[in-house]
């Protein structure tokens, strides 16, 4: 995420468009609270979004999604408790009115996708890399020239 931040911030990666639907952002505990990347995390979200709507407590003091500490890889054993304690995250997301939740963590994204179904949030949870790969400007010479190939053939 730090690398993506720097690529976007320094213009090494340029975007052809931003996400137009309202977005919000998850602060994964091990990336933000423990990893110290709160500011960069938010800045990436802002750079990718036209309408960024931070959750209450956004940043270092955000709530856990409920999937951390091994809860996701623990599988079925933890499912019920995961859905119950995730109510707080579900309410936070709903309150922002966002349609896209940016989630830079595999654990959090699995949890937030489950919460979306459980609490009927009507959102889509996506990784930063998905948005960047989709919305970045690809230099002309890297785009395959299908017509030329057909002519040659």
């Amino acid at each position: 995420m730090e690398l993506f931040h720097d690529y976007l911030d320094q213009g090494i990666i340029k975007l052809s468009k931003k996400v137009t639907e309202p977005t919000t952002l998850q602060d994964p505990c091990n990336v933000v609270r423990s990893g110290g990347l709160a500011a960069k995390n938010r800045h990436v979200a802002e750079m990718l979004s036209e309408d960024f709507r931070p959750m209450d407590n956004q940043g270092n003091y955000n709530y856990c999604c409920g999937g951390g500490g091994g809860a996701i890889p623990m599988g079925g054993e933890m499912r019920k408790q995961r859905m119950k304690c995730g109510k707080i995250k579900a309410e936070q997301i709903r309150a922002t009115g966002a349609k896209i939740v940016l989630v830079p963590c595999h654990n959090c994204i699995d949890q937030i996708r489950d919460l979306n179904k459980e609490y009927d949030l009507g959102i889509k949870a996506v990784h930063f890399k998905e948005i960047i790969a989709h919305n970045m400007i690809v230099p002309e010479h890297m785009i395959p020239k299908e017509e030329d190939e057909e002519e040659k053939a």
Binding site: R33, G70, P73, C85, K87, H106, K129, A133, I143
Partner: protein
């Protein structure tokens, strides 16, 4: 009464780990309740007092008080609490006015249980996979390389000249992933390859152990395995002469 074998083992485990710091944390907690509202388990359970973070530490203090003399029922209760009622997110610890590291004590309780052979089965099997293959999903080196190859082939039709460089000596960035991507989310690998290529990054992916950047052993306090995993990644980075290690996300 003679101490039981279990209590001896428990106290042996705790002795080097419960020093002045943990002892003072246990002593200075005034049960002020500041940590209660910081916990999503507490809030989501209609403010059930047993979900207050400070209350979850009672298993550790009770084990110490009883000098390790605890029965199976107690261990089970401790397990249910520290695994099913805590994500070790550390939010409570941020708000404690005394600076008590509640999360550390939950982690210590998990490590103590692990030392007695108690941990979630799914995490136990992930740890087995780490030992056998170096990654949590048990992906063989052959399958890993195969995945990288077809990820690259598929992307070549979208981006001219795209490569996923494997074991490239002297690359600036060594990129590692969550092993779940190799098995369930290969598009994540492809998206990063696309970004790296367009950014003109000097990057590589290791073929040998160390490419999985997850560390689930940390969650059960199996620090020996935890350390091995980190050492694997650093060994690969050193061999390849990479200046930075990037992890997925």
């Amino acid at each position: 009464m003679e101490p039981s074998t279990r209590s001896k083992a428990i106290m042996e485990f705790l002795k080097p780990r419960v020093g002045a710091r943990v002892k003072s944390w246990l002593e200075i907690c005034t049960k002020c309740g500041q940590c209660a509202d910081t916990c999503h388990f507490y809030l989501a359970a209609d403010r059930d007092p047993k979900m207050i973070p400070a209350a979850k530490v009672k298993y550790l203090s009770e084990i110490i008080r009883r000098k390790g003399e605890v029965d199976d029922e107690f261990i089970q209760k401790a397990y249910d609490c520290i695994y099913h009622e805590c994500n070790m997110c550390r939010r409570c610890t941020q708000f404690c006015p005394f600076g008590i590291n509640i999360a550390d004590m939950i982690a210590l309780t998990r490590a103590l249980l692990f030392s007695q052979g108690v941990c979630p089965e799914a995490l136990r099997s992930a740890i087995k996979n780490y030992h056998e293959t170096g990654n949590q999903m048990g992906v063989s080196e052959e399958d890993w390389l195969d995945t990288l190859t077809w990820c690259e082939e598929e992307m070549e039709s979208e981006i001219v000249g795209l490569k996923i460089p494997v074991d490239k000596v002297g690359a600036e960035i060594m990129y590692t992933i969550n092993a779940r991507e190799a098995k369930f989310y290969p598009q994540d690998i492809q998206e990063v390859a696309k970004i790296m290529h367009v950014a003109g990054a000097s990057w590589t992916v290791p073929s040998k152990r160390g490419w999985d950047d997850t560390n689930l052993s940390m969650f059960v306090g199996d620090l020996k395995t935890s350390r091995t995993l980190v050492e694997n990644t650093f060994a690969r980075a050193t061999e390849l002469g990479a200046k930075k290690v990037a992890i997925t996300e």
